[in-house]
């Protein structure tokens, strides 16, 4: 029971790290970035490449791979999303175009990784990060990478939540989400803020990707798709654009999935996410943490 609770918290932390970037991009820039999962796997792949010959130690690898993931997402923003926003002033049309582009980007990134790894699952060698398990009495225990994932998720979640709420940049992001035109009139370089936001979103996917690459036995391109689906459930349950909502629902869904696996028919695990999406859309379509709705300009 206690072990399963630990499992759920670790899994919730994984989901938090993965979902926050997606939530950020969707909530502020209307970019439903389906390449988020591919970027996540890409970071795992970079981790693998940097460590497979034991050439780089963990912390520099973490930094390089996260920055690389951020850079890929930034490139998508600059090459595609920004142009689409300028080209289609109508939000709906822009959203759909960005969605389609992101599917394409996911495919391209996936193909690159598949090609480089000969389509096999990959994982950094044990030497990249030596995993230890600490016993908490009886059969209950936790590994150092699990602790690291939980700590990283807490730090990222708190920093992002507070950053969005309290900083100058955070205000600019929220204003941009509501009305980019007026925000720019107030002197905010919205192009730069959007670029920085997408970079951050990508780097967060990267951070999750590095941790997961070490935590899981092996990653493959399809791994990202699996997390993407769960992340959608998280965003819908939490309320689109709500950072706190995403955090809370990431842990809720992790608890629910863990409970199903541990005490129920584990093959229904994926069904949990779908079920929660369905229930939320019927009962509370704005999500758990939706803000007051204001008509947009």
């Amino acid at each position: 029971m206690l072990q399963q609770l630990i499992n759920a918290i670790v899994f919730g932390s994984v989901l938090t790290l993965f979902s926050l970037g997606l939530s950020l991009a969707w909530g502020t820039l209307d970019v439903l970035n389906l390449a988020h999962g591919a970027v996540f796997v890409f970071a795992g792949f970079i981790t693998y490449e940097l460590t497979k010959d034991s050439t780089m130690s963990f912390v520099p690898t973490l930094i390089v791979a996260s920055l690389a993931a951020g850079a890929v997402t930034l490139a998508l923003e600059l090459v595609a999303f920004r142009r689409i926003r300028l080209h289609f002033p109508a939000r709906r049309q822009a959203e759909l175009s960005m969605l389609v582009v992101s599917v394409g980007a996911a495919t391209v990134i996936g193909e690159v990784v598949s090609h480089q790894t000969s389509e096999a699952a990959f994982s950094p060698p044990a030497s990249a990060f030596s995993i230890h398990r600490y016993s908490l009495g009886g059969s209950v225990g936790i590994t150092n990478i699990q602790i690291l994932i939980v700590v990283a998720a807490i730090i990222v979640a708190v920093a992002l939540d507070q950053g969005i709420r309290r900083t100058r940049y955070g205000r600019a992001i929220r204003a941009l989400a509501y009305d980019p035109t007026t925000t720019q009139l107030l002197g905010v370089n919205v192009g730069a803020v959007a670029a920085a936001t997408m970079f951050l979103a990508g780097a967060l996917a990267g951070l999750a990707g590095v941790m997961l690459a070490i935590y899981l036995g092996g990653e493959e391109v399809a791994t990202g798709q699996d997390y993407l689906l769960t992340a959608f459930a998280i965003l819908i349950v939490g309320g689109v654009g709500s950072i706190r909502g995403a955090i809370v629902s990431a842990y809720l869904i992790a608890l629910a999935e863990t409970a199903v696996v541990a005490y129920g028919p584990s093959q229904w695990r994926d069904g949990v996410a779908f079920l929660l999406i369905l229930v939320m859309l019927l009962v509370r379509p704005q999500g758990l943490f939706a803000r007051r709705r204001f008509q947009r300009a």
């Binding site: 994984v14 389906l34 599917v103 096999a120 994982s123 993407l228 859309l281």
Partner: protein
Amino acid sequence: MARWALAPLALIAGLAIAACGSSSGSSESGGSKEASSGTIPVTFVADQTGLVSYVGEKVIAGMKLAVEEINSSGELGKRKIVLSIANSNSDTATATTQMAAAVKSNAVAVFGPALSAEALATAPLAQRAKVVDIGTLSEDTGFLPIGNYIYRLTCSQLRYDPLIVEHVAKLGLKSTKIVYASDNPTLSEETTEHMVPELEKAGVKVQGTVGVPSTTTEFSSLATKLESGNPESIGLMVVGAANPDLITALRHSGYKGVIWGEQSATAGALVPAGELANGFFYAVDYTESLPYESSKKFTELFKQKHPKEIPYGYDANGYDAMKAFAKAVSLEGSGPVTRESVLKGMQKEAASGGFEGASGKTIFVGPEHRDIAVPGVLVEWKDGAEHIVKLGTPGLEQQQ
């Protein structure tokens, strides 16, 4: 449209295929279409790109190796096999189009694609055109009944279940739990219909079976569940990255017992788990160190051609499919090769006890002797390589 409605787009789900690559070889003898004298045209509708391209590429490599060997050895006299590759893109519609073109061409035999859906859709075209199709699917029971031109060379995990059960019992393991890919009908059925009763019969208590979706990657909660009750062994009837992921999760959560699996763990699938996968055992068609003369020959040829790669079952399947075809041709003498002569050759080959290929001595089994069975081998994974535990017997399941 609500934003969430777009979510399913993300589910470009990875259809993992259960296990084997397949190979098929065909030669054409033109009834109306006469192949130019001295050449034996065959077509492989291969999954060169798309979902299972990693299988397709290996099968192609093995098949090409066999063509080179056969053509240079002179075992077909002056006649040369000319292999055409038609890309199915791992897609049923494309595969069907390619197969339709292949049977209209002067190919004297065709080799079908690997995915079950593709194989089942393309085989009737070959049957109607009366051209031998050496198919490439694992265990779909609907494939061979399509007709008398349909053969398959396949790695049926079912054949190897006895090898595994026997080894589990031999290690003195009293109990086991099995986790299977719940969205893979072959593995689900095999687990519940075959492995569980056979293990119980061998005196191994099956404490439970647990289904998981193939997309799962985070297995810590499942690992905790599997460990409860302290089974002495845990069996993995899963595909792709789930093998190393599960092994890693089980070991990191402190599981000390034996872990065994099935042949989707081959071809380097366990590499990501590193030394945590040491001791994992499973059964395959082919492994590098097989002691048979014909296997050694294949391994040597492969290494000459691809010095940096390790040959695995998919390469061996491609090679063997072509060898099966070549033997059929040679059994029909040195005359012109026709579609009809290929069929007669295959039937003679079946009756005469099969052929020797990369996987060893291979026989034709099943009701009409169109199911090509390799002996199989039980291997243990240790330090990045497969080590032979026990050699199998061709058509093992037939003897039960």
